[in-house]
């Protein structure tokens, strides 16, 4: 059985394969089509004109366009990866396709999307977007030069609008010329042609994003085949041959099914052999719709009225139409339609010279109304690239205005050159020019002779046909944006509310905010606004800003392969496998996986951390500290350089010793901190926070390169070269003594903040330092990364009879907070100076360093700044959430509540047998002993302000206890 609206092959063969029949399901009904069909053309062939109801008003809607400008026919595809909101005009028919109509809102599947998406990065000399006549011509002339050419087109076949018409080039059908061009391009090695590929973004310096559909049209897809590919293309020259979009006209009841764009009707007729209606009224403001009328008449449809706004259309066109049996109504307009689920007739009346309605309206019966309100050049990519537009009165469209070497070249219909000969000439010239500019000299080839071209006399533009009755504020069936159900009344309401800018009106009315981004509504909206504001032309209203993407892009495509475990690189230490085997819970610090705690069976985090803390305070514990950043700073000026970047002095630090240092920004705020060792007179090893390593290196380099380039200093990141184990607790000396038999570990022989090079009992060379981030006696064993696991295991073995306990970052945080040691980025936030932290002792008075001058600035020198203090909740078990704010105890909790500061760190302490916190509090040091309130979770918790050291304030535990 043939589809009711499919034309016989003898009348119109179309570009479809009638030897194959494809079965598809739409809204539960099984229908048929052929390869070469889109879902839209197959639906029209099957007589399905009405395809949905509108999103807000519930009005019946039909297919309007034949390309991606389609505002109504949005469908949901079913299948393994259901896909919402696709225009039926962009869905290529395949066997077994299951689609469902949508009323403006789609749905996503509940299973993970298994489709593969990938990316490619390429460079090209000349990128040409659009393979209509001008784009193809440009590709030919640029390709022949030897330049690397990249031609992309979003349709399945090259040729653009030439596939819809009967033009002839070089004495043969245009399709023959296209076929020759395709063959020639395929043979040039440096030319790459992508079909089904949409240039969605055009960015600075000729950078384009192209979304290529690779498998959507195939019946079967291989398991690893990427469904879509995102091409990142860097071009040396960009040529935009993006064509033009036909506009509808806004009149009363202009949304009924069967009202279509005139060029779309012609496309369905010639490309898909589909006749969408038998009795067609054609309504136009220019010449192009005459071709539609002639093609309709040629296949046996009737054209009872060709309504042309122009009082004197070109005589030869009128003659052709009337000779074929149509009737032309010059100087007239369609004012409204009748029908319900299908247009049944059009009301027509005359237009006077001023464009006002005149004469006596009459009705013409029809089941198809083909409308052409003019052509809008597709200038989206040009606009994205920063090009400006101007209103061209003759062409009645916004065309590219500015040109410059930094902007893409626009050719053909995209610059309102609609005639074929002109488009070919521009394409050949632009291709040659772009190739020549890239160093591939070539002259533009001869322009082939053409015939059957679309005529192109001056249009009489019209965006809005006035209603017969009522003022414009009430024209609520004059649809401006079909997809958003927005009308002239909505635009007038926006203007009445004081909006003037098109950006505001569009946001207020939601015009152009649909899936189609206003491709058919944008310019008409501007025309309606111009009318309402009574300005001369749409040019005075201007356009909205063109932003990428030109067409919707799947998030999955933007992500490409960078999903799941490939989303971000994962950094692990050389002891990672041990931590995993020990059941550690990990936390992410930057890209690092750090053990957070090591729960034993039945333990939650609290219990594990309490146990780990007790081990470190009473016995011995070990932590993997390999993730700390390490930067080697080398050169004869290294001492001077460190003195300039750190708050404390490093030049006088003896070789073999280490010192804690803070770094500040030029504004005096804490940037990072860590211990630096002096390895030799001209060599330091600086450690940084785990998260701050890369930033600190960049910071150091910046000063060396830009401000102090006279200094002889080199910085090298060596984070990945080292592995390190902290051995912490009163029994740590015994463990290290066993581990490093050659080392004198006594406090007399190995002082605090010293380091030694030695060999472990198993022969591993190690650098052992006595530094402590817990206040306990502690050693840090640094070895080459590849010895990391062996060293960790050796430490565990050496400490086994002391019950050595591995601990994670959470325990480390509790231990350091008990001692009041800050973590940069947790207890500081870029507004905190070392003095605010009470670290005056670490701020050298004898030398200058980055940020020092800022301490004397008026605001920084205030004595009532937010300062680091301790907090003890009066209820010993109450744990304050980090980030909670502090207020005076008697303040009413009605906004605005004056805030005094906030909690930066808060833990449960095994050593104190209670909770405690660190906080930044305004004038905090003077408030020690005060009680403040922390309101959270609906109640207020009283806390006492204390000094920020809770444990071993005198530092008695640092050197541990010597065993006799």
């Amino acid at each position: 059985m043939t589809s009711p609206n499919r034309l016989d092959a003898t009348v119109r063969p179309g570009r479809i394969d009638r030897t194959r029949r494809l079965r598809f399901t739409f809204d539960g009904t099984e229908l048929h089509g052929h390869p070469g069909d889109t879902l839209a053309s197959a639906l029209l062939a099957e007589g399905r004109t009405e395809v949905t109801t509108s999103v807000h008003r519930g009005r019946p809607r039909g297919i309007v366009a034949a390309d991606r400008t389609e505002p109504n026919a949005l469908v949901q595809l079913h299948g393994d990866c259901p896909e919402p909101m696709l225009p039926a005009t962009r869905v290529e028919l395949r066997d077994g396709l299951v689609a469902e109509s949508l009323s403006g809102i789609g749905w996503v599947g509940d299973r993970p999307d298994t489709a593969v998406h990938d990316k490619k990065y390429v460079h090209a000399d000349v990128v040409i977007v659009g393979a209509g006549p001008s784009g193809l011509a440009a590709a030919l002339s640029a390709g022949r030069s030897g330049a690397r050419v990249f031609l992309v087109d979003e349709q399945a076949e090259l040729g653009g609008r030439l596939l819809d018409g009967h033009e002839r080039i070089d004495g043969a059908a245009a399709t023959d010329w296209i076929a020759r061009a395709v063959r020639e391009l395929a043979e040039i090695p440096e030319v790459r042609v992508l079909t089904r590929a949409t240039a969605v973004g055009c960015y600075d310096h000729d950078y384009l994003l192209v979304a290529e559909h690779r498998t959507d049209h195939l019946d079967t897809v291989g398991p690893h085949q990427s469904q879509q590919r995102l091409w990142h293309v860097r071009a040396r020259r960009v040529v935009l041959a993006t064509g033009a979009h036909e506009r509808p006209v806004v009149f009363e009841d202009n949304d009924r099914p069967g009202i279509m764009l005139a060029a779309a009707v012609r496309s369905y007729l010639n490309r898909h052999a589909v006749l969408p209606g038998r009795d067609a009224v054609v309504f136009t403001t220019s010449d192009s719709a005459y071709s539609t009328a002639l093609d309709l008449l040629a296949v046996g449809a009737s054209v009872p009225a060709l309504v042309d706004t122009r009082p004197q259309p070109p005589a030869h066109l009128v003659d052709q139409v009337e000779a074929a049996g149509g009737r032309v109504h010059p100087g007239s307009t369609v004012i409204s339609t009748k029908g319900h689920d299908r247009v049944r007739g059009a009301r027509v009346t005359e237009l006077d010279e001023q464009g006002c309605l005149s004469g006596i309206p009459y009705e013409v019966d029809c089941d198809l109304l083909a409308v052409c309100g003019g052509w809008s050049p597709v200038v989206h990519l040009f606009g994205q690239a920063g090009g400006s537009l101007r209103w061209d009165r003759t062409a009645a469209g916004f065309v590219p205005e500015s040109s410059g070497t930094h902007l893409p070249r626009v050719i053909g219909s995209a610059r309102a050159t609609h005639d074929l000969a002109g488009s070919l000439a521009q394409g050949l010239a632009a291709g040659a020019e772009a190739a020549t500019a890239c160093g591939f000299r070539i002259a533009a080839p001869r322009v082939p002779p053409t015939s059957g071209d679309r005529p192109n006399s001056r249009p009489r533009p019209l965006w809005l046909v006035p209603g017969m009755t009522k003022p414009p504020e009430q024209w609520d069936r004059h649809f401006v944006d079909l997809q958003r159900d927005a009308t002239v009344a909505d635009v007038w309401r926006a203007i009445g509310a004081g909006m003037r800018s098109v950006e505001h009106v569009e946001r207020y009315t939601t015009i152009s905010t649909g899936q189609d981004r206003g491709k058919t509504s944008g310019v008409n909206a501007i025309g309606v606004i111009a009318d309402a504001l009574m300005v001369d032309s749409p040019g005075e209203v201007g356009t909205t800003t063109f932003r990428p993407p030109y067409a919707p892009v799947r998030f999955a495509l933007m992500a490409g392969r960078e999903r799941g475990h490939l989303h971000e690189p994962v950094r692990t230490t050389s002891m990672h496998s041990w931590h995993e085997a020990a059941g550690a819970e990990f936390e992410n610090v930057g890209q690092w996986k750090r053990p957070r705690y090591y729960p034993r069976p039945g333990e939650d985090m609290d219990a594990a951390v309490q146990r780990e803390c007790r081990a470190a305070r009473t016995g011995v514990a070990m932590q993997d500290v390999s993730t700390l950043g390490r930067i080697e700073i080398v050169g004869s000026d290294a001492p001077e350089f460190l003195d300039r970047v750190c708050t404390s002095g490093f030049a006088e630090l003896a070789v073999g010793r280490a010192r804690y240092g803070m770094m500040c920004g030029a504004d005096g705020m804490v940037l990072d901190d860590g211990v630096s060792m002096r390895l030799a007179a001209d060599r330091y090893l600086m450690s940084t926070t785990t998260g701050g390593a890369a930033g600190v290196l960049e910071w150091l380099e910046e000063w060396l390169r830009t401000e102090w380039s006279e200094l002889d200093v080199y910085c090298t990141s060596v984070t990945e070269q080292w592995a390190a184990v902290a051995v912490v607790g009163p029994r740590s000396r015994d463990v290290v003594a066993r581990l490093a038999p050659d080392l004198d570990v006594s406090s007399a022989g190995f002082g605090f903040m010293e380091f030694r090079e030695t060999e472990l009992y198993n022969g591993i060379p190690a650098r052992i330092s006595r530094i402590s981030f817990s206040g306990e006696l502690a050693f840090e064993i640094n070895v080459a990364r590849w010895y990391g696991l062996a060293t960790w295991e050796a430490v565990a073995a050496a400490g086994a009879d002391h019950g050595i306990t591995p601990y994670g970052a959470e325990t480390m945080h509790v231990l350091r907070a008990e001692k009041g040691f800050v973590v940069v980025g947790q207890d500081t936030d870029g507004t905190v100076t070392p003095l605010d932290l009470g670290m005056d002792r670490l701020v050298s008075r004898h030398k200058d360093f980055i940020g020092k001058r800022s301490f004397a600035r008026q605001d920084t020198a205030r004595t009532d700044r937010k300062q680091l203090v301790g907090l003890l909740p009066l209820e010993r078990e109450r744990l304050l959430p980090e980030g909670v704010h502090l207020v005076e105890p008697d303040v009413p909790l009605r906004p605005p509540v004056p805030m005094l500061g906030h909690v930066t760190s808060s833990y449960r302490s095994a050593a104190l047998d209670r909770t405690f916190a660190l906080a930044l509090i305004r004038d905090g040091r003077r408030r020690i002993g005060d009680v403040l309130h922390a309101p959270f979770e609906g109640s207020s918790t009283a806390v006492e302000v204390t000094r920020p050291v809770f444990y071993d304030e005198e530092g008695a535990r640092r050197d541990g206890v010597e065993h006799g």
Binding site: Y203, H205, Y207, G386, E707
Partner: protein
Amino acid sequence: MLLIHCPWCGARDEAEFRYGGQAHVDRPPDPNAVDDREWGEYLFVRDNPRGRFSERWVHSAGCRRWFDVVRDTATNEMSAEVPSRSGRR
């Protein structure tokens, strides 16, 4: 995606670089010799022209060196500036 010409590595994508703000903002040689207002300007105040603007970039995912360029802030056209003080090594 800007195409930035690193004086040492050639033209590379913007993603390889980090922006360093306005060029030629010299740190006062003796910070203690300037008053709070001048120091504040050094810290916080930068030009914001429409048009040509000298600025610093660092090729952080490449050679890690700093250099200056002139960029037109309206069109993003970039031209090389002598690597000035960052050119010693």
